[in-house]
Point group: C2
Chain length 404, copies 2
């Protein structure tokens, strides 16, 4: 095989094709492989049917260096991956008692009889395949080679898949592709393209533009030296709307900015219901700057907890500039934070009116400069509007902290 | 084609294979098709390369009734879907000025010049294909038939994809499969399998078990009469741990239970940082019962906002039974709610100790019965622990409301 190293992944499970569970292992693996300089050629979601897996293997074996398969390693008849691999290899399933005993011994005595029920399925791999220990769950994984292709089969349960895949990824050689990501906040894709057009012309293959709500992520890939040079030039053209190098998300940028300057932050949320708090606290170490978020969904709680006056609530309503401002100053006060951002809006699908249609969101900013209120109108379904409002609140935090 | 109707979907985009953007359109579409009684045979994520799309079309055209393709309809050279389809059909791209003019006129005058730059790409479809209007963005979709297969191509941007797909789904005939979902809370997959073994034997194909943190979703599918009969029998065997028919998630169950009994609820969150509030407020109409959530990440805010005593914080620490209880009673008081649940724990990866390792989470319940504190230990990464804690808090709400 020639560089870059190439891989494909199949996620197996009827539930994934029925929309009952969404497939996230592949997306995570894609990112890990990309960081290692590998190229992922395709992701396929397949049903629990042997023929579908055979067809997948026939198409990709000898085409790529590495095949990942996840799912279908449960202990019931609807789990077909283990037997499909055995049939594909024309090999019987053999018990791996050494490894499975380790799994049994990890469990308390009273649950061990259950585990014995699944030994004959989850503790077996086809003869000739190498079993892979499962540090969390009960199903063993497996690995085998076919000519130049290695096939790895892991459980689909996300935390098991991730733990086992991480171990395997550590053993992979690194590819020769280098890449850099630049997150540009508050820009539209077309504006960014126009701004850096001179860099892109003739090198279109090196640039990917990934629009997200409220930002565009630019990925530059190729030889390390070129990528570093292009990154420098993009940053100098675009200026201060870029997140710092190595910072891949707004919450991370908010926390790094606050921590480096010694500021504390808090929020007050109505329609986002806790999404701002969640986004920030997903960052490990966020407690160094983030104090909390008062989710005040009812008008009474806006009044009692944040100190929004009844006059504002009755005269201007909960979705208004005075209420957003008052929520922000209230949050800053009760959390004793340097900076607070408040969000109050109508996420729908109900609750809109002619003056304040669904998608109307008011933001309040208090601290580290003059207090201000900002009104925006978003379109989309309830969850889209809430996500857009959350990203906007994070942007408001970030800009105010940067300017402070 | 014979029933059930069959479909496949391809999501096109290098960014999806690099883990920079996760693919959610397919999962959503899968659920919609399943509800219509259709069978989704596969989901494939493909790179922005014509040959990959040709290979996909060659494999699936004439095999299924409907092919969905999303993505790669941007206006830059890395977007290859439009030209790939034109090459596949051997037809030139033709401008659809009527439809594209409607898109231009929707925009304010000052941004129209930008739109003219993309007319020649996003306003064109291959001759013979039928253009599909985009009610939100700028790229037209397209549709064409090849023998018995209909191919639909839509933009990958989620809100555009969804709006355009919804319109198409309304025109589809319904399949003959019927299905029912039963969510069983607090059970392990193996316990549920054992409990309903007598129903499953000989009908394995009708049952899917979908384990989730803290619950198992059982999907029964087949002929309507059989499914309804099996659902009744499962519910009578499993008993009160099943969510009601038609209720597919714990947040929905919590809100329905609270609203039907006229109770109000609130929460206090530390390590979950707002996830409980977010999960509940994702339900439209949650404001009829949910008052808010005090996200108190810092010790000072637990003291100042929730009234946790300094003595508790110093003697027992923030992750303890007394603190969890005091947070719950505090939240109940400041929100004037009938019931409050509090969460305080160590999500990691830092902050653990020998006595309180990462994954230790205390829950407090106050109202509608005796106050209580519950300790649980979760394993996994930061986000997994937070998710497990969130689900547990929702379960505590639900059980207390059910018993009230």
């Amino acid at each position: 095989m020639t560089l870059p190293y190439r891989a494909v992944m199949a996620a197996v499970g009827d539930e994934l094709l029925r929309g009952i569970v969404s497939e996230n292992n592949a997306s995570w693996l894609a990112g890990e492989l990309f960081k290692l300089g590998w190229r992922l050629e395709a992701i396929e979601v397949l049903p629990d049917r042997e023929e579908a897996l055979f067809d997948f293997l026939r198409r990709w074996i000898d085409e790529v260096d590495l095949i990942f398969i996840s799912g279908g390693l449960g202990s019931t008849p609807d789990d077909k991956t283990r037997s499909a691999i055995a049939h594909y290899l024309g090999a019987p399933l053999v018990l791996c008692d050494d490894l499975f005993d380790k799994i049994v011994l990890r469990h308390p005595e009273e649950t061990r009889p259950y585990l014995e029920n699944v030994r004959s399925t989850q503790g077996a791999v086809p003869q000739g395949a190498e079993p892979i220990f499962n540090p969390i769950g009960t199903a063993l994984g497996m690995r085998f080679r076919h000519n130049a292709t290695t096939v790895v089969v892991l459980p689909g349960i996300p935390w098991e898949f991730r733990a086992m895949a991480e171990e395997l990824l550590r053993q992979l050689p690194r590819g020769d592709r280098y890449s850099a990501q630049i997150v540009v906040v508050g820009w539209l894709e077309m504006d960014l393209k126009e701004k850096i057009a001179e860099l892109v012309v003739g090198r279109e293959e090196s640039f990917s533009f990934l629009p997200a709500p409220n930002s565009v992520t630019l990925v530059i890939s190729g030889e390390r030296e070129d990528v570093e040079d292009l990154e420098r030039r993009v940053r100098s053209l675009v200026g201060e709307d870029c997140l710092s190098s190595g910072v891949s998300s707004l919450p991370q940028a908010v926390i790094e900015e606050a921590v480096s300057k010694g500021f504390t932050i808090a929020s007050a949320e109505s329609c986002t219901g806790g999404m701002v708090g969640e986004a920030i606290t997903e960052i490990s170490g966020s407690s160094r700057a983030f104090l909390g978020s008062a989710v005040c969904y009812s008008n009474e709680s806006k009044e009692n907890i944040l100190g929004v006056s009844r006059e504002i609530l009755e005269r201007d309503g909960a979705v208004s500039a005075p209420c957003a401002l008052s929520m922000a100053t209230g949050a800053r006060k009760i959390y004793k934070a340097h900076l607070a951002v408040a969000i109050t809006g109508i996420a729908g699908p109900e609750g809109g009116s002619r003056e304040k249609p669904v998608g109307t969101v008011w933001f309040g900013v208090s601290g580290l400069g003059e207090d201000k209120a900002v009104e925006l109108h978003f379109s989309g379904d309830r969850q889209t509007i809430r996500r857009l409002a959350t990203t906007t609140a994070l942007e408001l935090f970030w800009r105010r902290l940067k300017g402070a």
